[in-house]
């Protein structure tokens, strides 16, 4: 198929960006979206133009590196996939595809479609851990039974890949799905209880400091999340924070 691509080009974080049109031809429907981008970049290199910078790495939907806002949706029109798992069969010959970086004040553009997600890192530094030594002299793994239900729920929260689609999608650029998932993973496990109050306070404080917006419960993040992280995690974070402030 032949496609027109409208792509955000921006030299660096200080430059003013703009949408630029490109044409690609003979795209196979079996290609992944990023392979289509590879074709474009190969074409640009061959004509001496600078290729489009975009984040990607594992290309199997787990590293969370790839981003892109495609035709008005984070990770494109398919559900439950990252951009690298999006396939061109979702598009038709002759389509025009708009490709933009993830947008949020807390995610400044580094170049073209690459954004800086260090805000997520700092939120995790603020409390995304259990304070246990890595000495190996911990108690036996089976000494604390954890109900299967709690373990499964913690696992569901822990599958978050930190891609930032929730922020990009949110009309308020809120990071609450991400932070909620992180808080929930630990809040659901007995190991995480000891520091639960401080953790949620610190992580939320850092989240606010980073300039993310406020959740208005539109639920868009849950729909666009490639890992299907549930809104329930936000509710749980809210509870945890209230609990932390009351006790």
């Amino acid at each position: 198929m032949n496609l027109t691509l409208k792509i955000w080009r921006q030299k660096d974080s200080n430059a003013k960006g703009q949408m630029v049109d490109y044409k690609v031809t003979d795209i196979s429907e079996h290609m992944s979206f990023l392979e289509m981008m590879d074709v474009l970049n190969e074409q640009l290199v061959n004509t001496g133009e600078e290729p489009v910078a975009f984040d990607h790495d594992c290309r199997e939907g787990i590293c969370g590196m790839c981003s892109m806002y495609i035709n008005g949706e984070a990770h494109g029109p398919d559900r439950g996939v990252t951009t690298c798992q999006l396939h061109m069969r979702m598009f038709k010959d002759g389509d025009t595809i708009t490709i933009e970086p993830f947008r949020a004040a807390a995610f400044p553009v580094i170049k073209d479609l690459v954004v800086d997600r260090m805000a997520f890192e700092r939120i995790q530094h603020a409390g995304g851990y259990i304070s246990v030594n890595t000495s190996g002299n911990t108690q036996d793994a089976n000494s604390i039974p954890i109900s299967k239900h709690a373990a499964d729920e913690a696992m569901d929260a822990a599958t978050c890949i930190g891609c930032g689609a929730c922020v990009a999608t949110c009309k308020n650029s809120s990071a609450m799905l991400f932070v909620g998932a992180k808080v929930s993973q630990y809040a659901l496990l007995p190991q995480g209880q000891v520091e639960a109050a401080d953790r949620v306070k610190n992580m939320v404080a850092q989240m606010d400091l980073e300039g993310f917006g406020n959740c208005t419960n539109t639920g868009a993040c849950e729909i666009e999340c490639p890992k299907g992280i549930s809104l329930e995690n936000i509710a749980r974070m809210n509870r945890e924070l209230m609990k932390a402030n009351i006790s």
Partner: protein, 670 residues
């Protein structure tokens, strides 16, 4: 330089404990004055950085991704082995040790493997304490699954995302140390050279991938944890950015590179669909528990399927060749990875591949679905169930077991694997070879360590499923933090290593010159062009089956590609900005050297062992006719290569492997 593996004396089960009891340590007050660089933040690097920082060292950690959590360890699906014996099925440290050595086709170092098995149980304790949500049974205790090639259930798992969860665990431990200021994290930084001062590794040169700035970082020791080199094939299950640059740079500065030819080709990956393909996706090995692998018996059917005139489901049982069941009646579809991969290649080479590229075989779940369906019908007391009903019942069981994999397959291939067989083909997955290290995990450069997939030590010629995660974390959490102290105890009075010395000047200049070359070269071809060309040679001639003629051709062809690369490579953009093409150019340049050494190593090793299959070394008669033939008399050694300029000139050093606790046997799956 003679190789000294520094394996401690004494009985194998006491070696590690005795050794730990006697090595020098650095006292806590002095650790504050010692800096350690860790390159790579996957399971090995991440766990090492966290533990070293916790011990009190000042750690600088480097990742080319924008977060340590994105390292490719995250993609591991199946699980992590540990000799916990929670299932009471007879597992033990010795058994895990034995399985690993045997699985590695007797080409690994006994003492290292035993230590790995010994600390494996601690890993699980550690991870659970960190909040890794391993799967549990209804009693709230940890669940296990079994994995290929072993007789016990010792694999711990977190759904199909065990690597992700373990990496997040190590990452959380890092976060704690970053918050304490003990780890300084450098995201989007790539190491481009190591700096040696007085023969010791004392720092690295990095490029800031956002600004292009070349930076100097000094330390008292350098730890390389940069993963494997599977991307030398261009197409692999590795991440796009996975590269060998850090490992290769230390090799060029004096670290020996061991067994580069030991590569694992995983049998169950989604086949290539066209030339544009950028990477291959693994489907968990567990699928072979229920899937039957076949190709059509008759060439007419192959052609009809390729042309779309027939569907695989049109073929009757008699028209199918279940070649693994035919060749290996005892193990059938559950033969080890290397055997399954070679068998698929054999059929496709003979022309029986079932997709347009001719490189695919079927993995069929129909009989499993029917079997489960009948079982379910019985359980639910459904008499005279229709075929559809049975299929429906069976499908539900298969869905519960493999649902996420089936969905992933459908997203990529756009075919429903419940209705039509999956297509699979082998793909490069893991590299057992890597930088040579001694028992302390130190390379042949003093002060330069190498851990995880980047080193060579534990898996011999073939790695068992669920052992990579175990090794990465064992190295990082429990081995390196001890052994590095022994070396650093001499450095407590050294003081900060200055970066304004001629050694740093020289290393930095070398790095800058190379970048300038790429930017200024008036080439005509993209970096990917060369990478793909290299990958094709590697796959065709140094892939699943190798022979002398092909390997010699490969060496000269790779050399030719390398020469063309240095003339014709074209890198658009500038050095002082984010420039993915420039990053790729540097990585491919290193792959082009490694590829040739890889072929050379394969050429020298005139035996078949594990992932390395030489067509000349097969059993000629008897029950094992046609199977891989290992040669313990002449090749029970580690090939450690010393860099001498051109890869073809590399000098071989042999570390003889002694097997005192395990008897060498041929692997048989007939």
């Amino acid at each position: 330089m003679a190789l000294d593996s520094k394996v401690p004396k004494g009985p194998i089960k006491d070696k590690w404990t005795d050794y730990k009891n006697h090595i020098d340590l650095v006292n806590p007050a002095n650790k504050r004055h010692i800096d350690i660089i860790v390159v790579g933040t996957g399971l090995a690097g991440g766990s090492a950085a966290a533990t070293l920082a916790e011990l009190g060292y000042n750690v600088k950690a480097f990742a080319y991704q924008d977060s340590p959590r994105r390292a490719h360890s995250i993609a591991a699906q199946g699980g992590i082995n540990a000799a916990k014996n929670y299932q009471g099925d007879g597992d033990s440290t010795y058994r895990l040790f034995y399985d690993t050595v045997k699985g590695g086709d007797y080409r690994s170092r006994e003492a290292n493997v035993y230590r790995l098995a010994e600390v494996s149980a601690n890993i699980i304790d550690q991870c659970v304490a960190q909040g890794v949500p391993f799967a549990r049974d209804y009693g709230g205790l940890l669940d296990n699954r079994s994995f290929g090639g072993v007789l016990v259930s010792r694999t711990f798992y977190a759904k199909g995302q065990t690597g992700q969860q373990l990496l997040l665990g190590a990452y959380s431990a890092m976060n704690r140390q970053i918050a304490r200021g003990k780890i300084e994290m450098f995201n989007r930084h790539e190491m481009l050279d190591v700096v040696k001062v007085d023969g010791k590794a004392r720092g690295i040169i990095t490029r800031n991938l956002i600004t292009g700035e070349i930076e100097r970082h000094s330390a008292h020791a350098v730890v390389i944890a940069s993963g494997g080199y599977g991307n030398v094939y261009f197409l692999s299950t590795n991440a796009m950015g996975s590269n060998t640059t850090a490992a290769w740079k230390i090799h060029k500065k004096g670290a020996y590179f061991a067994n580069p030819c030991y590569t694992q080709i995983h049998p169950t990956c989604i086949p290539r669909s066209g030339d544009y393909q950028s990477k291959l996706t693994l489907m968990s090995e567990s699928l072979r528990n229920d899937g039957r692998i076949w190709v059509p018996k008759n060439m007419e059917d192959v052609i009809a399927i390729r042309e779309g005139r027939k569907k695989p489901t049109d073929l009757s049982e008699e028209e199918r060749d279940y070649y693994l069941e035919r060749r290996y009646p005892a193990f059938g579809n559950l033969v080890p990875r290397d055997v399954a991969s070679r068998a698929a290649k054999e059929r496709c080479d003979a022309g029986y591949g079932v997709n347009a590229t001719g490189e695919a075989v079927y993995l069929d779940f129909k009989s499993a679905i029917t079997r489960y369906g009948k079982e379910q019908a019985k359980i639910h007391n459904i008499t005279n169930a229709s075929e559809e009903k049975i299929y429906e019942l069976g499908q539900a069981i298969v869905e519960a077991k493999y649902g996420n994999l089936f969905q992933m397959y459908e997203k990529i291939v756009d075919e429903n694997p419940y209705k039509t067989p999956m297509m699979i083909y082998p793909a490069t997955h893991y590299t057992m070879g890597g930088v040579w290290v001694d028992y302390n995990l130190m390379t042949t450069i003093p002060g330069c360590y190498c851990i995880g997939e980047a080193n060579f030590s534990d898996h011999g010629a073939n790695r068992l499923g669920a052992s990579a995660l175990m090794q990465g974390l064992a190295d990082g959490y429990f081995v390196l933090p001890y052994t590095i102290g022994d070396y650093l105890s001499d450095d407590i009075r050294t003081g900060k290593i200055p970066t304004d010395t001629k050694e740093f000047d020289e290393a930095e200049k070398e790095v800058k010159d190379r970048i300038d070359f790429f930017i200024n070269n008036k080439g005509t071809k993209s970096v990917d062009y060369f990478h793909k060309k290299l990958g094709k040679v590697m796959w065709d001639k140094v892939g699943m089956a190798r022979n002398e003629k092909g390997l010699k051709e490969a060496m000269s062809e790779i050399k030719a590609i390398r020469e063309e690369f240095w003339k014709e490579v074209k890198v658009i953009g500038n050095a002082n900005e984010m420039n993915p093409e420039l990053e790729k150019a540097g990585r491919v340049a290193d792959f082009l050297e490694l590829g040739e050494l890889f072929a050379k190593d394969a050429l020298v090793r005139e035996e078949s062992c594990g992932g390395h299959f030489r067509e000349e070394s097969v059993e000629l008669d008897g029950e094992q006719k046609g199977e891989a033939k290992r040669n313990d008399k002449d090749f029970a050694f580690v090939s450690a290569w010393e860099y001498k300029g051109e890869p073809a000139d590399a000098v071989l050093h042999k570390e003889e492997l002694e097997f005192k606790d395990i008897e060498l046997k041929q692997r048989s799956y007939k």
